[in-house]
Subunit: 426 residues, 2 copies
């Protein structure tokens, strides 16, 4: 029998709703798992076991509040919380106690979820690593910037966790840690109370151990009940296999996953190669410039007044971003929008696009968090995407692919992702 | 000779740059004006004259920092500031001291501007009025939600002020108070550190006493130097006179301003009627629903935990917004995007669209802030716009019109607005 802490969030929600499980038992199981594992994984920036248990008991004694009633969750430490220190991954804000919960945290709590703690973010959700280790191999990175959220969900310390993506900060750590990561369509989840690093790119999303768990969380974050898992069969999906211009950077584990997916899905779906527009190759360099420029502006206060307490790579990024003229930035956004219109048209022929999430298994070393290369284009386009963790690489660490959906049709993407996972992991 | 406090920001910036004026003298002039007027206007939520003078003196002793060197400015009290209490217009956050400046505040300070104080916002930038009175007629509203910013700039207490617009919170108070209000293209100014009330609608912009002053501030906020005022002549602009579906709500003062504008501009521009798409009439009801739904989500923490300290109308708005299903909200955004594409196409034939900003002069009474009716559609479309204050109404209060530009082409909009104001106010 699956231990409680290892339950998938959707399954746990069903058992809680049927009264077969209490919030207290579930929360206690996750806390016990955390007590045994956190010293090795270092996924948490802050944790309050007693408060979580008290909250779980209160929920057990109350009528059902919402879709997440009794589920323990964590929030990346760039989400403001009134009851936990929120330091945004930097010593600049050590000890900071916000006056309000981030909207996404408030929505989860209003739906009955139990906030167990704050998870490690890289420095200001950028590239400089925090302490978190890969739960399966502690000498390897869990990815970033949502490092602690991905690692804690992968390890059974949390059922669900909130993260954000600007370049590849949900999909990449999900791929490395072997969990489902879901990045919604840009603009569909409120960012209120989340430390902003890029005005047009930042998106709030989350992690779970199944597509159904991620869809449950997604329904609460977007407020769109169509995201909820359904039992009826979906029409035969049209899956576009879309090799991005960066395909040569995909390692053998990802190529094998790609071929495996084609073999598994071809008998059941209408699989076809999807030809990305030639200009798609511009998206990675454009995303880098858009992100650097917008980070320099969103972090203007820290860049100006606290640069001595920021990491050298972050200061270099902000300096480079500040040097990009505003007129060039405007041209970058216009160019990206035009390419986006061409990519949007691909969804007339494909219900979803399958693409790499990362170049391979989680890389060795804790001083970096891996390369968001395969996530940058989709981030710039603002399209919804889901990482599907369905296999392992040569050394036994998780490998998978991301499924990318049509703008604003997150419910269809998640339904197809759920269908695909059933056939990818028989 | 114009008293220093009444100088336009662009003129003041030129004099400061030429060494004809010191930051200290300019700041002192504004503070003296404030000392004489604030008890009647009540534009400020917080003010620190000594700190402003000290900062001005420091700037006078230092090399030029940037485009706003030595200019006194204010920020609506929903912008975080480290050195002023930031209460977001609600007793819920009375006494709150943020740990960082909002990005827009940091960008202005980095450009050398002197933050004099925080200006009154309506409750959480929604509809419940703050104490501010119309500077020309204290029994009338200055408009909202950026009430204090518009009133302080109109009255000569500030050169420049930051505001935000979600429905009509920049253009409407600018119209009532008779100042230039500039709302940039959505997504072009970082909202980091600004209390969010709507994920897709909120835009940071500002107020000045001339289009050139607003363009100077806009260049700093967007980082785009093309917005800066230029002396070369522009090509004969094509001005589309676009009567919105709500035209019947425009009062006689606005109809007269419309006719006056046509007479003044027709000899010098290619003026034509611009036919808005039939579906444009959907934008006002759509904007109301999008705003209510997103406000309920962005303010989920306050709605859930502090509803007893929110005003009855705000709670009613949030309740109504929370009752709109997420699937309906997604459909609203899609419908708005489709209408937006049709409106974008109008700019192939018109360089800018002239439209009403409000139905007339500032209405009597301080319990409300007027109706954002004529601003809602442009807010939902995310287009850049500038209020042009060029005449007065039947009772002597200011009246004007807004000029709406093509998405992302704020620099062209501001150049045309500058040209138009020269011919509207001979």
């Amino acid at each position: 029998m699956t231990p409680l802490h290892a339950l998938d969030a959707w399954e746990a929600a069903q058992r809680l709703a049927r009264g077969e499980l209490t919030a207290e038992a579930l929360t206690r199981a996750c806390l016990e798992r955390t007590a045994g594992r956190e010293a090795e994984v270092l996924a948490f920036a802050a944790l309050d076991a007693d408060a979580a248990l008290a909250r779980a008991r209160a929920l057990d004694a109350a009528p059902k509040r919402g879709l997440l009633h009794g589920l323990p969750f964590g929030a990346k430490d760039i989400f403001d919380t009134v009851d936990f220190v929120t330091a945004y991954g930097t010593p600049v804000y050590a000890g900071h106690r916000p006056v309000a919960d981030a909207a996404a945290v408030a929505l989860c709590r209003a739906a009955g979820a139990v906030l167990v703690g704050k998870t490690v973010s890289t420095e200001l959700a950028n590239m400089t690593a925090g302490p978190t280790r890969h739960p399966l191999r502690p000498t390897h990175t869990p990815g970033g910037s949502s490092s602690g959220s991905a690692a804690a969900v992968a390890d059974g310390m949390l059922m669900l966790a909130l993260g954000t993506q600007t370049a590849g900060s949900i999909i990449r750590p999900a791929a490395y840690c072997g969990v489902v990561g879901y990045k919604p369509t840009v603009g569909r989840v409120p960012r209120a109370g989340v430390k902003s690093v890029s005005e047009t790119l930042d998106v709030v999303g989350g992690f779970a151990r199944s597509v159904r768990g991620a869809a449950l969380l997604g329904a609460v974050l977007t407020g769109d009940a169509r995201l909820l898992p359904r039992d009826e069969a979906i029409a035969t999906p049209r899956i576009g296999f879309a090799r991005p211009p960066e395909w040569a950077e995909a390692g053998p584990d990802v190529v094998r996953a790609w071929d495996d997916a084609r073999r598994a899905l071809a008998p059941r779906a209408r699989c076809a190669d999807a030809a990305l527009p030639t200009a798609y190759a511009r998206l990675v360099p454009l995303q880098k410039d858009v992100m650097a420029h917008e980070a320099a502006r969103a972090l203007a206060f820290e860049h100006g007044l606290h640069h001595q307490r920021l990491s050298t790579p972050l200061v270099a990024l902000l300096d480079a971003g500040a040097a990009i003229p505003g007129a060039a930035h405007a041209a970058h956004l216009s160019e990206a929008a035009a390419i986006g219109a061409a990519v949007d048209a691909l969804f007339d022929d494909h219900d979803a696009l399958l693409m790499p999430s990362a170049s391979g298994e989680a890389p060795a070393g804790l001083a970096q968090t891996g390369d968001p290369l395969f996530c940058r284009a989709v981030s710039l386009l603002g399209l919804p995407c889901v990482h599907l963790p369905f296999t392992t690489g040569a050394t036994g660490l998780p490998v998978g692919l991301q499924l990318v959906g049509r703008r604003g049709e997150d419910h269809r993407l998640l339904a197809i992702a759920d269908w695909a996972m059933r056939h990818l992991t028989p």
